[in-house]
Amino acid sequence: MILRARPFIRWSAIAARALVAHPTPNRTPVICLRRGLSTQDPEPRLPLADKFTTAPLEGNPQSKHTNTTSTTGSNDEVARLAAIPLPSLTLQDLVRQGYPLSSQRLLASARYTRSILPIRLAKHILALRNLPFIIVSNPHISEIYNNYIYSLRSVLQFPNNHPTTLAEEGQFTQMLKDIVKTHSNTIPTLAKGFIECKRYIDPEEVGSVLERHLRTRIGTRLLAEQHIALHEAFVGKGVKDQHNGEGEEESGDGYIGTIDTNMLPSKIILSCSEFVGDICELRYGVRPKLIIEGHTKEKFPYIPVHLEYIITELLKNAFRATIESPTLTKTPHDLHESQQDDGVGDGNLPPVIVTLSVSRRDGVGGGKVLSVRIRDRGGGIAPEVLPSIWKYSFTTFDPERGRYYPPSSASTSAMSSSASSPSSSSQYTYSNIHNLTGVVDDYSNPMNVNLGMSGGGTIDALNIASDTGTSGGSSIAGLGYGLPLSRAYAEYFGGTLSVQSCFGWGTDVYLFLKGVGVEDI
């Protein structure tokens, strides 16, 4: 995380300087394009975003100079690409593309990715460049804008209907990894940018811009990561092939790219709770007990990182609420129960109960659906806070007061900040989790995903511990999009996420996901 964060800081500094030097875009006609794709040169070189670039994007990304003074014209490659309708991405398609894995399939996947990715990136660019000038001039936002331009150029340097050879595929995958890495901090950066632009843009609009961006981005990211994962699986399998001969199927781990056909939700919930529990122990010295009930032994084919992200966010809310408002709901019965415990350190807290249900749908696909209920006794959510839990709460961030509004009572279980300790929320940032799961290499070996959770968690928790002393000014701490982003993830493949609060008692959160092959009703 630190490694990645550093260039960004410099980057925004450069952008800011450039802005000061060139207050209007017309004064900055010369744009240095980011050079090459070599990883030795990760530093972005653009002094300022080419906000309205219309230069031909196809071809050599080393054509360094572009003129921004021209406006959108008929040869606007971004507009052309963005206008192409996107085929919807289904889990079924992802499975079909990657199973069984062969060199032909891998190349087909690469070519598919090459054909779709530019459209998606162009749509991102289009959305950003339609924002008011003053917004995109913001260093953070222009940084993201440039990242997209850069990524689009990178993809387009591979001609259409390529790659055709495994060697070329290797380069292509390397490029994808590079892109994914470049964009791993997009959301926090954008959020930061929007906070700085707060007075120039309506919070509602920020919400909807970010929401759209986020949702599209889930697909874009998944597209790239799916191919990378297939590549890694193929490379891993290639060694195997020499022993077992061609035609041998999967190594049996059940992974098809990023999809785990043997995913065990209870296992993921458990590992997420370990991770969140560790944070709680560091931060509060206690760790609420977790009970998993229902269909705990049922498998559910899905993308584990998506489920991990959602569950981690939800458990963070549930655990924190449980810890922060324990007296409200503790009953003599609970006290009695936990006293019989051997004192693991749940602080006599009422347990968080996760109920799992996996159900098979009739019909063509015969797919499964997963329902998860996370029930805590953390006091529920105050009615006046309830309407805003799905908003990106940074839109109500007040930089002068340095805290988040509404500064609700201790029972705002679903909010990611509390008024009394603004820095405490720094542990619950998307970027922490995101970087854990977002590191490309995690997907190459499925084991890493699971192990990475708890292992990475410790590192994170340590980072947090050192952060806690500071005011958290430089971090994107507590931007409060855990809940809306979780919902975006849940809804991506047709699922739902809803919250039901019993104020004064606790909160129930319902997550519903459709697995591979579930038809829409």
């Binding site: 249900s357 159900s359 004064g504 009703i521």
Partner: protein, 461 residues
């Protein structure tokens, strides 16, 4: 539905049914002659003048204070005249709503039955002169009582009418119509029954009916007219739970295990509410949960312990929340989208249509009609029972007697939408979350009654 034929058959069958019906329900039948549509035409100018007047909403708090402890003649007469002037206005609005429906819908036998009942009620009520004496009031009360009884056929008729007309009007539109009509019906019954109860209290001040039911003579000051000041959340759940459990035992046989009900949370919660409304909602929710749990684990040996139904009572500053969690397998995904609709929904629809298609089921249909009448209009019904029951002194059983009388495995698909209308009527809500394949959680949120007015204005009255 590709074929309009079933609907035609429905009507033909309906005619025969009604004839068979007439021996048992002469009062209702007398109102549904085979009038040619043109005979139903009435001058609308009288109606117009009433439609022009807005309904005057009343809050629960006002209802409580309307009677108060110092019930005297002036208060009774005031209350009577409020009801006398308010009822025809509210009915007029609903008649106008019906008049705006497509001709084909209102000529449906069920719908025209409802229309006629409404028009008759409107005509009767508007002609009642100002109430100046207690004797006037007694006469007025008997008119209203008769009307309440007569109107018990309205909900089943509406339900069937709506189902039959589902292809003629968009579902959303007919649901909107239903909601409006039902809310208005609740409002009218509340004010009418409140007044009748006040009158009863006034007439028999030394024989206060609630005392024997509660076995604490001094509890009666808490009870004014139709409005209970004190509803004990836990007791209501226990009472409705027991009845629903007994119902299940009757339906599935004495050997069939019945799920236990566990109550947790703020079990000492007491709040003001209309008890019959609360009992109806809680009763429906528990019925659903018990039934689903039994069916999910069917067949089960008598010794099987079915998973608990957990009821949480949460006493929040502004609300009382009842959360009913069962492990009855959740809601089938094809039913989920139409759960709250009166006119849509695969299963209940199929049931009613099946009844219509099989002539030999006519007897069952008869039962359905009857039971339907009882349960759907449980609130009105049980209130009228209440009044007699109070005098007998066994209020507790009688208030839910209609619940028990309903054939238990008869799924009509209107329990949930009806309950939601009741919940929303007093600014509450009803929400449901299904864990597909596992169970269902239902959240009933009751507003603690402050100065919140009835939600009438939302209906554009």
């Amino acid at each position: 539905m590709p074929n309009p034929l079933p609907s035609v058959q429905w009507r033909a069958l309906q005619t025969t049914l009604r004839r068979g019906n007439s021996t048992q329900q002469p009062a209702a039948i007398a109102l549904t002659p085979n009038l040619a549509p043109n005979l139903r035409w009435r001058s609308s100018s009288v109606l117009d003048s009433y439609v022009d007047k807005p309904a005057r909403p009343i809050s629960l708090r006002q209802l409580i204070f309307f009677g108060g402890r110092n019930l005297d003649e002036v208060r009774i007469l005031n209350s009577a005249n409020y009801v006398r002037s308010e009822l025809p206005i509210r009915i007029a609005h609903r008649i106008r709503d019906m008049q705006k429906l497509p001709y084909v819908v209102v000529t449906n036998p069920h719908m025209s039955h409802v229309y006629d009942l409404y028009y008759k009620a409107f005509d009767t009520l508007r002609k009642v002169p100002e109430i100046k004496t207690i004797e006037d009031n007694d006469r007025f009360c008997s008119i209203v009582k008769n009307m309440l009884r007569e109107h018990l056929t309205i909900i089943p008729n509406l339900a069937m009418g709506v189902l039959e007309c589902k292809d003629l009007v968009p579902a959303a539109e007919i649901d909107r119509f239903m909601n409006k009509l039902l809310r208005s019906r609740i409002s009218r019954r509340v004010i009418a029954e409140q007044h009748i109860a006040l009158t009863d209290t006034f007439n028999s001040p030394f024989h206060f009916p609630a005392s024997s039911a509660f076995q604490q003579p001094n509890s009666h000051p808490d009870f004014v007219g139709e409005v209970f000041l004190r509803c004990n959340a836990k007791e209501v759940v226990e009472r409705c739970g027991k009845l629903a459990q007994n119902l299940a035992r009757d339906a599935f046989g004495p050997d069939s295990p019945v799920p236990e009900i566990e109550i947790e949370g703020h079990t000492d919660t007491i709040f003001p509410y209309i008890l019959s409304h609360l009992e109806y909602m809680i009763g429906e929710l528990l019925r659903n949960s018990i039934q689903a749990t039994i069916e999910k684990h069917h067949p089960a040996s008598p010794t099987t312990k079915l998973p608990l139904i957990k009821v949480l009572i949460c006493h929040a500053p502004q609300h009382i929340i009842f959360r009913v969690s069962d492990q009855g397998g959740g809601i089938p995904p094809d039913e989920l989208p139409h759960l709250w609709s009166f006119s849509k929904g695969a299963r209940s629809q199929a049931r009613l249509e099946n009844f219509a298609r099989v002539p030999t089921m006519a007897a069952t249909m008869q039962e359905l009609l009857n039971s339907h009448t009882h349960t759907s209009s449980i609130v009105g019904h049980q209130n009228s029972i209440n009044m007699t029951a109070r005098k007998v002194g066994s209020r507790e059983e009688s208030s839910l007697s209609s619940l028990t009388s309903r054939p238990p495995n008869l799924r009509l698909g209107i329990g949930l939408p009806m309950s939601r209308v009741y919940a929303e009527y007093w600014a509450g809500s009803l929400e449901l979350h299904s864990l597909e394949g596992y169970g269902t959680d239902v959240f009933l949120q009751i507003s603690k009654l402050g100065n919140k007015s009835e939600q009438l204005t939302l209906d554009g009255l």
